[in-house]
């Protein structure tokens, strides 16, 4: 029981440079807490996120991956987030098929003005992943050090 309580998930968050990364910065500026388990990787646009990156993260022991982009219609590059949404829909359903629970993956739209939404999303996501426990399914044992 204690083990479950002490489980600290590894969460990788891909944030687009224009909206979500700025939203994360705003969460910081407003001192809105979310767990330290979340580590952000900055990408120019949510459409830069190759499904490969997400598979790699799970392979290397990530317990959850979240992709944040601009709201539909607000993409800095006009249509990037639509591509991301379509790609992730396919990837996530494949991951679900492989046994990576749907709760471990998420796409969320966070604008540069939504610091509070960013923090709330992260809190929620970390709680959901913590509930599921460690990801064993796709972890590559050869990558274990």
């Amino acid at each position: 029981m204690q083990d479950v309580n002490q489980f600290k998930p590894k969460i990788v968050a891909f944030c687009c440079n224009w909206c979500s990364y700025a939203g994360a910065d705003l969460a910081g500026t407003n001192r809105l807490q979310y767990p330290a388990d979340v580590k952000i990787i900055r990408v120019p646009c949510s459409c830069r996120v190759n499904p490969m990156f997400i598979l790699r993260a799970f392979q290397r022991g990530a317990d959850g991956v979240i992709l944040c982009g601009c709201h539909p219609g607000d993409c800095h590059y006009t249509t990037g987030n639509y591509y991301a949404r379509r790609r992730m829909t396919l990837l996530f359903s494949m991951l679900d098929y492989l046994g990576i629970e749907k709760q471990r993956t998420r796409v969320e739209w966070v604008s540069a003005a939504e610091g509070a939404k960013f923090a709330a999303t992260m809190n929620e996501f970390v709680a959901a992943v913590t509930q599921l426990g460690p990801n064993k399914r796709l972890e590559d044992l050869r990558c274990k050090n």
Partner: protein, 665 residues
């Protein structure tokens, strides 16, 4: 192997209070490739930057990692620092340990651990960084202004004034736009034509300005500094170089029952027409839908009376191709159609008019010669009711506009005041929800309408207008302050219709890849800090195409857009973003997947000769990225099935290295 330096910033106590900065710099110092690691109170200060510069020199660093605030804050600063010490500025990575670590965590141990991981990810990335050089592209020193209303005119004049060439494309036969239809302007009540027509003439006479009237933009290709535009000059059936604008043809034309657009259909024009006396260019135009000669070859009267021989029934549309460095959108607005608001009986009675129609009725050059007469019977109205917010601030499903149209409060005050001034025997009622009059001398103007001119302002809306056969309009409204339903027998009702972007705006936005909001107003690059630029480089916004605006605001924005254009055209070369996509031609199989997802049309294909085994060669089709056009979104990199496409500065291997560093704990 890179030689990496790590610089951990305290940011005073902003970082140092929750992150053990010494432990971070100590831990990161042991990472492979790190040859120098330190921490300092303020890395962004001059002293802090000197630490970085000295370290680059003393330790021959090939890459640096700064653990500090958000890269959105100081990435540019540290890139400059690196460049001044001779290091390529793209060999700098920032680990955001303030906004995304110290400020959001309370537990020092946890925050320190996270800061170290973020530092490691940045180090892992910088290991794979390569020096990048920003490319350059030339600038065509000519601007295109789309729309020839007051916004386009002012922008064009300002750009021309700075010595650059400007083309104005206007779809109507004359420039001038909505302002030509307006009678007086608030809050000074000077006549619109008196202040606008000199500017129109200036445009015509300025040798830097070229007016394409009765023309439309058909195609836009290229990118900032290098746009290629096709303009369709519609056939006027009149040779503009010969026509003197004498008007002889327009008087003799037998087709004289064509609704006159300029007077909003309140009177008629001929099939050949000049919209109004001060039109620029002052050239006649034949309406092909009305002209007998063009429809069935019978008539030809205008050609007979034209002493200049300007009539040309065989004229065809003509496509003109031009190059531009910058494009200004000034497509303006229109009042909405009032079909959904027929509780006001707009379609039932001619005496229920829109505000723009009312402008024409009170304009000296209008259908009534400036005398206020009812459209139905030409009689002088005694009771007038103005209704504000018709279709504005309307969030009900499928109806109206959710925004405030901004100009209606003031022009209604103007109309009401002018009625009372010219015709003291009139009673004027204004139904309002709120009177919005922020602007210099605006509220004073509205108060004058009430206090000096005795206009009756009623807080409430009109719910129903019932036209009666004796010509009276029964107006039923609510007076919220008196808590009464009021009934007024009016002679005229004037509806302040909401305004919306011109219908041509959306297809134009698609051509320009410029973004729009849900109301079809063009979106600015930043609502506060870049209000006259579109997010698409090289596209600028002027006037009501960006949002409802009155004339002073429009002229101010037009000037601002012009100054941005001048700033762009003054440059000989543009520096490009070096973080662009790049295709490895050895891996590319020319499948076109990348081209399809590119929002900028930056990818094209070339047939290239490759060496094959046994001294043979083969021609293969491979993708080539135009680095001047690529904005670096990376959509193509994921679409590429063969992995040939990668993004400089955010390469697959760099992001994977970050993923690995974060997941390895």
């Amino acid at each position: 192997m890179q030689r990496i330096g790590v610089f951990v910033c305290w940011c005073g106590s902003n970082i140092a209070a929750t992150v053990d900065v010494a432990a971070v710099s100590e831990a990161l110092g042991h990472e492979p490739g790190v040859v120098f690691s330190t921490n300092y109170q303020y890395m962004c200060s001059e002293a802090g930057q000197n630490i970085i510069k000295n370290a680059i020199r003393d330790y021959q660093l090939t890459g640096i990692v700064v653990c500090s605030c958000s890269p959105r804050m100081h990435e540019a600063t540290f890139r400059k620092t690196a460049a001044s010490a001779g290091l390529n500025s793209y060999m700098v990575e920032i680990a955001n340990i303030r906004e995304q670590c110290s400020w959001i965590h309370k537990d020092k141990a946890q925050a320190t651990e996270k800061a170290i991981i973020l530092g490691r990810a940045a180090i892992a990335k910088v290991h794979l960084n390569a020096p990048l050089t920003a490319g350059e592209s030339p600038v065509t020193k000519r601007a295109l202004v789309i729309g020839g209303g007051i916004a386009g005119i002012q922008t064009a004049l300002d750009i021309a004034d700075a010595g650059f060439e400007v083309d104005i494309v206007e779809k109507q036969p004359t420039i001038g736009g909505k302002m030509t239809q307006i009678d007086k302007t608030f809050p000074t009540l000077d006549c619109a034509a008196c202040i606008l027509t000199p500017k129109m003439v200036d445009c015509a006479q300025n040798d830097k300005i070229n007016i394409f009237a009765y023309s439309e933009v058909k195609e836009v290709k290229g990118f900032v500094g290098n746009f290629h535009v096709k303009i369709n000059k519609k056939a006027r059936y009149v040779d503009a170089t010969k026509c003197t604008g004498c008007g002889e043809c327009t008087e003799k034309c037998p087709m004289k029952k064509i609704p006159n657009e300029f007077n909003l259909g309140l009177d008629n024009r001929h099939a050949i027409y000049i919209p109004f006396a001060q039109a620029v260019p002052k050239v006649a135009t034949i309406d092909p839908n009305a002209c007998n000669m063009l429809k069935n070859g019978k008539c030809g009267l205008c050609a007979k009376v034209c002493s200049a021989g300007a009539i040309d029934y065989k004229q065809k549309d003509e496509i003109v191709e031009r190059e531009y460095g910058a494009i200004v959108v000034a497509t303006g607005y229109n009042p909405i159609k009032l079909d959904d608001y027929d509780e006001y009986a707009y379609s039932l009675s001619k005496d229920v008019v829109s505000s723009l129609e009312f402008e024409r009725i009170t304009n000296a050059a209008g259908p009534t010669g400036g005398t206020l007469l009812r459209p139905s019977d030409g009689k002088h109205p005694h009771t007038l009711v103005f209704v504000q917010c018709v279709g504005s601030r309307c969030s009900a499903e499928g109806k109206g506009k959710s925004y405030c149209s901004k100009i209606c409060c003031m022009y209604t005050a103007k109309h009401a005041m002018l009625c009372r001034e010219k015709y003291p025997d009139t009673e004027v009622y204004v139904f309002y929800i709120d009177v919005r009059s922020p602007g210099k001398n605006y509220d004073e103007f509205y108060r004058r309408a009430v206090e000096e001119y005795g206009v009756h302002y009623i807080k409430g809306q009109v719910g129903k207008v019932v036209p009666r056969s004796d010509g009276k309009l029964l107006v039923q409204g609510s007076d919220l302050l008196a808590n009464e339903q009021v009934h007024i027998e009016a002679d005229m009702v004037v509806l302040a219709a909401a305004i919306e972007p011109d219908k041509s705006a959306r297809p134009l936005a698609t051509m320009l890849t410029a973004s729009m909001d849900t109301n079809d107003f063009f979106t600015e690059a930043h609502a506060k800090l870049r209000p006259v630029e579109s997010p698409t480089a090289g596209i600028f916004l002027s006037g009501a195409c960006q949002g409802p605006k009155d004339i002073p605001d429009t002229v101010a924005q037009a000037g601002a857009a012009a100054s941005k254009v001048i700033g762009l055209l003054a440059k000989d070369k543009l520096t490009c973003n070096p973080c662009t996509a790049h295709s490895d031609e050895m891996m590319c199989n020319g499948c076109s997947s990348c081209e399809k997802v590119c929002p900028y049309g930056a990818i094209s294909y070339v047939d290239k000769e490759f060496r094959m085994p046994n001294r043979t060669t083969a021609i293969r089709r491979v993708a080539v990225v135009n680095e001047a056009v690529c904005q670096g979104c990376g959509a193509c990199t994921v679409a590429c099935p063969s992995g040939a496409m990668d993004l400089k500065g955010f390469s697959n291997s760099q992001i994977m290295a970050e993923v690995d560093a974060i997941c390895k704990m």
